[in-house]
């Protein structure tokens, strides 16, 4: 369908963008890559009075190594994120997840910030932001503020951004030595949203898990930080894949710990899966993700 009519504003600076958004209030929407917003407009599921296009603002499309963290500007495209040597080298979980988003053409336009600001629990990057304890930097006419990932995803498609606030970018902490990473996405076809996804960061010492951080995609109205399984994983020594563990017949303590992965979640029902099947997937995929992350 053809979208309903709206005004189009392309501010020349961030200041101007903030002022335009401040004046327009809830009537206006930010336009970044448009890869979520334009399909919504075409299906007439959204009727903003105005779109404020940030697509050409200088300065929001960059990746910076800042010592203890990597700053990813909101307007950096998925394609740029997954190719960035800084991202791949220091925060590889972000690159692994970005590579699974949609398809090449969508990744050329869709942005890192747009994916997070859209706050879709089925999106692949929100679970990563939660697992890595990212910090969101937002700006409005009133000034700048920081929002920890744990407070950013308020409800389904509802980020903690206030009307008139622009997401400038995200600080992604570097985790340092000894960590392994993996994003495990279960989907029906090559290009499809996750039925369930698991973002895992795992630190092992001498074959045992010292610390694990797990984020879940599509397991509730918001992305989920799976604290129960993180606690269960601490101190676990996984069976060797071809040794005396799972394959050998006796129980793998890692598999037992991953049984906690769906604890406290409220997964959705849709055409592809019921909640009980999603809980099953969360447990199986967490096991795979933790294994692939080096445990």
């Amino acid at each position: 369908m053809i979208p309903a009519a709206f005004d189009y504003i392309r501010p020349a600076s961030l200041d101007e963008a903030c002022h335009v958004l401040d004046d327009a209030g809830e009537e206006a929407k930010v336009l970044a890559g448009g890869q979520s917003l334009l399909p919504l407009l075409r299906l007439r599921l959204a009727y903003p009075a105005a779109l404020v296009d940030l697509g050409r603002l200088p300065g929001l499309r960059r990746v910076e190594d800042r010592g203890d963290h990597v700053f990813i500007g909101a307007l950096t495209t998925h394609d740029e994120v997954l190719r960035s040597p800084v991202v791949r080298g220091h925060v590889p979980l972000v690159a692994l997840a970005a590579a699974t988003v949609a398809d090449p053409a969508v990744r050329h336009r869709g942005t890192f910030g747009g994916s997070l600001a859209h706050a879709d629990p089925a999106g692949d990057l929100p679970a990563v932001a939660l697992a890595l304890d990212c910090v969101f930097v937002a700006r409005s006419a009133g000034g700048e503020r920081e929002i920890p990932a744990a407070e950013f995803f308020v409800d389904y498609l509802e980020p903690a951004l206030r009307p008139g606030e622009v997401l400038l970018g995200v600080r992604v902490p570097k985790l340092g030595e000894g960590w392994g990473f993996h994003y495990e996405k279960f989907h029906r076809t090559a290009q499809a949203w996750a039925v369930v996804g698991v973002a895992a960061a795992v630190r092992t010492v001498g074959g045992s898990i010292e610390e694990a951080r797990i984020g879940l995609t599509n397991m509730g109205p918001t992305p989920v930080r799976a604290r129960a399984v993180e606690a269960a994983l601490r101190g676990v020594t996984p069976a060797r894949p071809n040794g005396n563990g799972a394959a050998g017949g006796s129980r793998d303590p890692l598999r037992d710990a991953c049984g906690e992965a769906a604890e406290g979640t409220a997964p959705p029902v849709d055409l592809h899966a019921r909640p009980d099947y999603r809980r099953h997937l969360a447990r199986v995929l967490t096991y795979r993700a933790v294994r692939a992350a080096g445990a």
Partner: protein
């Protein structure tokens, strides 16, 4: 109404456009570039894929105003002097189309893929075309065509405009 300037298949156009006009409708309805079809309402099928400033994009998911001052290449801009582009020729040789609806998008996505990987494996081709759906030929001949197109083009610079 916003006024935009956009280059399409090598020709510069100046147009007044409603903000809600999609790039694909600008191409088809205003500029007569009906080689680029619309297949879905959701950004999933890839039939409408064009090159936007040298990289593949789904023209149904871009506003015409967002393409202001950009360079667009459609399937109609690939041929030279009455000759098909090697990738188009390869699709014909390998019978990689049946109804042909997905073909313009497939060819554009295939050319985009070769920019990063001039000699793609079957697996890389299947991954690279993940955003393009074919509902009738099936993908075997399409993958074969992209292999052939890549070989024909080897050594040649990947031409996207």
């Amino acid at each position: 109404m916003p006024r935009i300037t956009v280059t399409v298949d090598g020709i510069r156009y100046e147009e007044e456009v409603e903000p809600r006009l999609l790039l694909v409708h600008l191409l088809r309805d205003r500029l007569g570039k009906t080689g680029t079809p619309v297949g879905c309402d959701t950004g999933n099928c890839g039939a409408c894929t064009v090159m936007l400033d040298g990289r593949s994009a789904k023209s149904c998911s871009v506003l015409a105003v967002q393409a202001d001052e950009c360079d667009v290449v459609t399937i109609e801009g690939l041929g030279r002097d009455g000759e098909l582009h090697p990738m188009q020729e390869a699709f014909r040789t390998e019978h990689a189309l049946q109804c042909g609806y997905c073909t313009p998008g497939m060819v554009m996505a295939a050319i985009d893929l070769l920019r990063d990987d001039p000699d793609p494996s079957e697996e890389a081709i299947r991954q690279g075309l993940e955003g393009n759906l074919c509902r009738c030929t099936g993908y075997c001949n399409i993958v074969r065509a992209v292999r052939r197109g890549a070989q024909e083009m080897s050594g040649e610079e990947v031409r996207t405009s």
